[in-house]
């Protein structure tokens, strides 16, 4: 797997550390009434077969957090953006 780091260019997978699904959104509130949202966020995963957005750290390179879009069945990598850009886009979508 080769990952196109927006900062470093194309790099091989051994330079990266995978955190996992980038879709779950951290609940905004600490209110015990939001327990279900927290449970969902911490423990449950869609775990899709196919297209997947995931948090990846370029630990062996520029050390930036990225969101990589990849196919979990074929390992084809479609692209990568910085986690900052991803968060910005997501905020835009929610607004």
């Amino acid at each position: 797997m080769l990952i196109p780091c927006p900062h470093c260019g194309i790099r091989p997978v051994e330079e990266f550390t995978f955190l996992g699904d980038a879709r779950p959104v951290r609940p905004a509130s600490n209110d015990p009434a939001t327990m279900d949202q927290w449970f969902d966020y911490v423990y449950l995963r869609d775990n899709p077969k196919g297209r997947f957005d995931e948090y990846v750290h370029h630990s062996g390179g520029c050390r930036a957090w990225l969101v990589v879009t990849r196919d979990t069945e074929t390992h084809e990598v479609f692209g990568a953006v910085t986690a900052r850009d991803w968060a910005g886009k997501r905020k835009g979508r929610r607004a």
Partner: protein, 416 residues
């Protein structure tokens, strides 16, 4: 047909032309009392114990590929019961006991070989952790021995004891651990279940789960709709996909684990040995190949094949432990899809849907569990209530805060 010396001699006399197939190839019936999704080790052993222990034989096992195409035919065949936590040890020890009687029980040679599982330690804190785990095992009636460096050297003189970075300081040995011929386990359970009336249906993929009023009514498959009163899911790496058919989201991620086999060598490594300073473990098959592996690659995957960095890591760790391995040639490597759970422990439970049962979350260690998993899952399905042995494997433990986390890693599946 019962397998014995006599059947062997009799068939030898007729040129081995009259052996009958070990199981039938039935077409699915329109309806069963119980349908099991997944003809891996766990699905087949569940069907076997449903029939044998609970007299429930109107049962079908639906397998989308062929028997042995999943993890049951891809693992590195290690069995052990060397856990730390009270929720785990009685379960895995029961599995070990079932292994010990399995071949007689299902009349099939599964090559159960209790050749010993040795975990190496390389630091003092690691030895302390081994002492603690060994004591926990003994409290639960499991055999465990803490070996010093010289005792390990006596067993395996050719390891690198004075490696500058990873000197070997000792090990934790479970003599009753060992290996079992993995696909023979699938075949033995399949044959045992089939002979008691269970239908094992290969190339039958479940594509949908139908429920009505909160109850399971049946499954859609590529061979038509099959009605059932109870439905057990044992789809290992595909658990999330199958559970999603019933609208469920699981505390599971799918990851790839690789394994390797070398060219055949003369007897070299008697038991199973795990390196403690990197991800590497090895045993030698009866054919002479070294069977070895390491950790999961670390990213979500359904690909059944991994990448080269993990191959490099495994081989580097292997050579650090056994320098002479550097001259061994690797013949094959492959991957399997692991159902990694959020605490590294499995789930055997009923669900919020009446008649729907779940067996999943085996991570990279479900082969050793095959007998007890089927035994407990059969009990849970037949009685609609978990057995005390799988009481710690409830699905709602994450919500209740009763994680069973041997490594203490938290909800990060790729670190378990």
């Amino acid at each position: 047909m019962k397998y014995s010396v006599f059947s062997l001699l009799k068939n030898a006399a007729s040129g081995h032309k009259n052996w009958t197939p070990a199981w039938r190839e039935p077409d699915p019936k329109p309806e069963y009392d119980i349908v099991i999704v997944g003809g891996g080790g766990h699905g087949l052993s569940t069907a076997y114990y449903l029939a044998k222990e609970h007299g429930l034989t109107n049962v079908a096992v639906l397998e989308k590929g062929w028997l042995g195409s999943g993890n049951i035919g891809r693992n590195t065949t290690i069995i052990r019961s060397n856990y730390l936590l009270p929720g785990n040890n009685p379960f895995y020890e029961w599995s070990m006991k079932l292994w010990e009687g399995l071949e007689q029980d299902f009349n099939f040679n599964a090559m159960v070989s209790q050749r010993g599982v040795l975990n190496l330690c390389h630091t003092d804190p690691q030895r302390d952790a081994f002492a603690r785990r060994g004591n926990a095992m003994r409290i639960d009636g499991v055999d465990a021995e803490l070996l010093d460096r010289e005792a390990v050297r006596e067993m395996y003189p050719f390891f690198d004891y004075d490696n500058a970075r990873f000197p070997i300081k000792g090990g934790l040995l479970q003599r009753r651990g060992g290996t079992v011929r993995h696909d023979a386990v699938a075949w033995g359970y399949a044959r045992g279940a089939d002979s008691r009336g269970v239908d094992i249906i290969q190339r039958c993929e479940v594509t949908g789960i139908r429920t009505a009023k909160g109850k399971v009514v049946g499954v859609d498959t590529n061979r038509g709709f099959i009605k059932c009163k109870k439905l057990g899911l044992a789809a290992a790496g595909n658990s999330s996909e199958v559970a999603a058919m019933a609208g469920m989201k699981l505390p599971i991620e799918s990851h790839v684990l690789q394994a390797f086999v070398s060219e055949g060598l003369k007897p070299y490594i008697d038991g199973v040995v795990t390196f403690g300073a990197g991800h590497f473990y090895v045993s030698q098959s009866d054919k002479g190949g070294l069977v070895f592996g390491g950790d999961i690659d670390g990213y979500n995957s359904y690909a059944r094949r991994g990448n080269l960095p993990m191959v490099e890591h495994v081989i580097e760790a292997g050579v650090a432990m056994i320098p002479s391995l550097a001259r061994v040639r690797v013949l094959r490597s492959w991957g399997g899809i692991m159902d990694m759970s959020m605490d590294g422990s499995p789930i055997i439970d009923k669900t919020h849907i009446e008649g729907l049962y779940l067996n999943a979350g085996w991570c990279y260690g479900g082969f050793k569990a095959t007998p007890a998993s089927g035994w407990c899952f059969a009990h849970t399905i037949a009685r609609n209530e978990p057995h005390s042995l799988n009481a710690a494997y409830r699905l709602d433990r994450f919500r209740r805060g009763y994680m069973l986390d041997e490594k203490g890693q938290g909800a990060t599946p790729n670190l378990h």
